[in-house]
């Protein structure tokens, strides 16, 4: 079937709704990579076995992840007319009990994390599950969730990512229909500009402006690319977005391509994400079947398709010019900009190219469906919208956290994350991946937005937040990240290639207690030069962990060096 109208979407939507909220009970297991890693698949298999043997009238489904990694494996129960209930820390041993309860229209209360009576999927649909199960805490009362705002993760963990009908059921592809059949490209770009959306890949470049430049660039052939290289240690927001809700990425790209005037799209994804690749491939196949990708989409005459390019595992290939080189089959080494990708001659195969991060694309359907004003109302001035962070390290509640930009580190680390794991005192966080800075706990009232993070010596990056506690040795942390950056340096320019190597050697010397005060001076001089003279973002930001630990934890260095 080809979808060409709102009526067609509505028809598919009804079939999808029957899957999300079937007439019989549904058990859905959280099976993103995070859930699988802690045994989600075994839980799923065991439940399937039991259902297969006893044949009760129960649906079994797979969903993505709602983000509370510490509590996984997570299982959702939907009993018709009742709230959706999330069970946590489920083991295969619990399967029998779960099926028994669900058969009777109940849930094993002792395994319940929370209940969701209704859920706003943001893109035009609020799911009313029902009332009851009053003894189970409401979703909004769970401290991990209560300060979050789910805009990007609007469907994650609630719909089956391998079923396009479920995505359409909660309003999916309606924004694309609205954009392609009712809006001029200029108007779409205008909306994205007014929304204030800034690129979620790290640098925070205004997305609407980038689209405008790409649209105005001369060239008959243009590309849009989704950057899914996500190589920061500890960061997995993009992975979850693709695994849990791949269609929102595709829909965002479809709208962007139409606005820019590109007919070819590519998702550049690291090969280490096999499940995300598989789900994206499935999603692309399903979208093509409905005519949502391919020729003459919605009968508008606009054609667009998306391919997948896998990366060979180099962190630097996430950098725009290296990424393009890698897709073209050349070595993934950055080149100086300009030319930028949007410049004639600078993009993929020399064609003007718009590159955006996975999460940037995820925001687009929301902006089109809710309008720029609604979107701009979230977050802080100049930093609108929400951002997903992976809150990891020595924090009590590990997981994916989505909050409005401008939320303080205090809220993220203490209110949502409940402070240090094992009641340890939190000492610092590192934001922005390997090249972010370490921010001490006394500065945790810093709002998490692009500018404020820069002011304290760190960066937004792609959204990793690594928590460190009183036992963490900050000099060793600096060494860890420098070691990562040095080995991921592409080796093209001297400050990064040689400079980081010597930074590492000096840090080793300090940690071996063989350094003197003079080495600290050399360290400062050297890292400043690396920042100022490196060719690409990798070298320019790699010294941040050293610079910030030197600034905020100088005593730890001093304690290690001889006079």
């Amino acid at each position: 079937m080809r979808i060409v109208s709102a009526a067609d979407l509505e028809k598919v939507s009804r079939s999808g709704l029957r899957k999300i909220r079937p007439e019989k009970p549904r058990i859905a297991v959280g099976l993103a990579t995070c859930g699988i890693a802690v045994g989600g698949m075994r839980v799923y298999d065991r439940i399937r076995e039991i259902i297969g043997e006893q044949n009760p009238d129960i649906e079994l489904a797979r969903v993505g992840c709602i983000g509370y990694c510490r509590e996984e494996p997570l299982v959702n129960i939907t009993i018709p007319g009742k709230p959706l209930v999330i069970l946590h820390r489920v083991t295969p041993g619990d399967a029998e009990k779960i099926v028994r309860a669900v058969e009777k229209g109940e849930v094993p209360v002792e395994k319940a994390l929370c209940r969701i009576p209704s859920w706003d999927h943001i893109t035009g649909y609020t799911q009313e599950y029902g009332a009851g199960f009053d003894g189970i805490p409401r979703y909004g009362d769970v401290p991990f969730f209560s300060h979050q705002k789910k805009v990007i993760l609007r469907n994650s963990g609630l719909i089956n990512p391998e079923q396009i009908d479920e995505y359409i059921a909660i309003g999916g592809y309606a924004a694309a229909l609205k954009a392609l059949s009712g809006m001029a490209p200029e108007a779409i770009i205008g909306e994205v500009e007014k929304s204030g959306l800034r690129g979620r890949g790290g640098a925070g470049f205004p997305t609407g402006l980038k689209w405008r430049i790409a649209r105005n660039a001369e060239g008959d052939r243009k590309f849009v690319i989704c950057n899914a290289d996500e190589g920061d240690p500890g960061a997995y927001m993009n992975r979850n977005e693709m695994e849990s809700d791949p269609h929102m990425v595709l829909e965002g790209m479809l709208i962007g391509a139409y606005a820019i005037g590109a007919s070819e799209g590519l998702i550049y994804i690291r090969a280490e994400y096999p499940l995300a690749i598989r789900r994206l491939e499935t999603a692309i196949g399903q979208a093509r079947e409905y005519g949502l990708l391919g020729k003459d989409i919605f009968g508008t005459g606009f054609s667009f398709d998306i391919g997948i390019a896998t990366g060979a595992g180099a962190f630097v290939c996430g950098e725009s010019t290296a990424l393009v080189a890698s897709i073209e089959g050349r070595t993934g080494r950055p080149h100086p900009r300009p030319p930028r990708l949007t410049d004639p001659g600078g993009g993929l195969f020399g064609c003007p190219t718009d590159l955006n991060n996975v999460e940037s694309w995820c925001n687009i359907p929301v902006i089109i469906s809710k309008g720029s004003e609604w979107y701009a109302g979230i977050g802080a001035k100049g930093n609108s919208g929400t951002k997903v962070f992976s809150l990891v390290g020595k924090v009590d509640r590990v997981g994916l956290v989505e909050v409005p930009l401008g939320t303080s580190l205090n809220t993220i680390v203490f209110t949502i994350g409940n402070g240090g794991a094992g009641n340890k005192k939190v000492k610092a966080v590192q934001t922005g991946g390997p090249s972010g800075g370490c921010i001490p706990a006394r500065l945790f009232d810093t709002p998490v937005d692009y500018e404020s993070l820069n002011r304290v010596g760190s960066i937004m990056g792609s959204g990793g937040i690594v928590v460190m506690d009183e036992d963490t040795d900050m000099v060793d942390i600096a060494r860890y990240f420098i070691n990562f950056a040095a080995s991921e340096s592409c080796g093209k320019c001297v400050p990064c290639r040689e400079g980081l190597k010597h930074t590492l050697l000096i840090l080793n010397k300090i940690l071996a207690k063989k350094a003197t005060k003079r080495d600290l001076e050399i360290l400062t001089d050297l890292t400043e030069t690396i920042v100022a003279t490196s060719l690409c973002g990798l070298g320019q930001t790699a010294p941040n962990p050293v610079l910030t630990t030197l600034a905020y934890f100088r005593d730890e260095y001093d304690a290690l060096v001889n006079p």
Binding site: A314, E328, T331, H335, P336, P339, P344, G345, G346, F349, G350, A486, S487, E488, S489, C490, G491, K492, C493, V494, P495, R497, E498, G499, L500, K501, H502, L505, I522, D525, L526, E528, T529, A532, T533, S534, L535
Partner: protein, 275 residues
């Protein structure tokens, strides 16, 4: 895939407070070289795409009262462009870069002299000395040889191996190259004279490139080995000149002699050959 901009309209750029004429889009470092303004550089070659790897050519661009560092080999001339080449900021970073180079290529006289010229005579960093380094501990990975080999010669016989601090240049798997023409373009572009090449008997030996051997043509007249055989053959195939036959058989010296002889013969009404 970088497009070389076609030189545009004349513009005026300011370097260290003095005004100079340039073509719009022209590389600023080229302007400086033409005007004899000293900017150190190691990875720039006008006939190759801008590369920006050695970072020595950094200058400060003055824009709206603010200063920003940029590599002059990637900076394009535009009307009103204003740069400073020797600010304290530049000098500070340049010194550190020279220290890094001194540690990376401790055996290179060129680097030593260049650094000394800018007042850097020692390095605080650990020197890298590798026994048996095919490039004699002189390589600074500017990439000129790799780029000349692929961009100009189209051979692609050498490339970077590994990444980060382990990066080196050589033939794939350190095996003698079958793609090398023995043209020696790499030797000529290398700013630190790191690449060793020697003609031994009937072969040209690219000592730095895994001892790749390339057979030479022998002059029919004097018996000397002169140009790489396959390279001359492929160049000749593209040439259309009556001299073709002589070039294929004779070394440049003997060819000169023969040409002179012909001229004399022509003067006497004999055979004349003109290219």
């Amino acid at each position: 895939m970088i497009q070389q901009k076609i030189p545009g309209k004349p513009v005026t750029v300011t370097i260290n407070g003095k005004k100079y004429r340039a073509n719009e889009g022209e590389i600023l470092l080229s302007v400086a070289i033409r005007e004899k303004i000293e900017i150190p550089h190691l990875c720039f070659e006008a006939s190759l795409d801008p590369y920006g790897a050695c970072r020595l050519c950094m200058v400060e661009v003055v824009r709206k009262g603010k200063r920003e560092m940029a590599t002059s080999c990637t900076l394009r001339a535009a009307d009103g462009l204003e740069v400073l080449t020797d600010t304290p900021e530049i000098e500070k970073h340049r010194s550190i870069l020279f220290e890094l180079y001194l540690a990376e290529a401790p055996k290179s006289d060129v680097i030593r002299d260049m650094a000394a010229h800018y007042g850097v005579t020692r390095t605080r960093f650990l020197k890298r000395i590798e026994q048996g380094d095919p490039l004699g501990n002189k390589c600074v990975l500017c990439g000129l040889c790799v780029r000349a080999c692929s961009e100009i010669m189209g051979a692609g016989a050498i490339n970077f191996i590994n990444r980060g601090p382990y990066t080196v240049v050589n033939t794939p798997y350190y095996a003698p190259s079958r793609d090398c023409f023995g043209c020696g373009a790499c030797v000529r572009v290398c700013p630190t004279n790191a690449i060793e090449m020697e003609d031994v008997g009937a072969d040209r030996v690219m000592k730095s490139w895994s001892d790749t051997r390339v057979p030479l043509s022998q002059c029919e007249c004097c018996g000397r080995y002169y140009a790489p055989r396959e390279l001359s053959a492929s160049v000749l195939a593209r040439l259309d000149t009556p001299l073709k036959e002589e070039i294929a058989r004779l070394c440049p010296e003997c060819r000169g002699k023969q040409l002179a002889q012909n001229e004399i013969l022509a003067g006497r009404g004999g055979r004349a050959t003109h290219g």
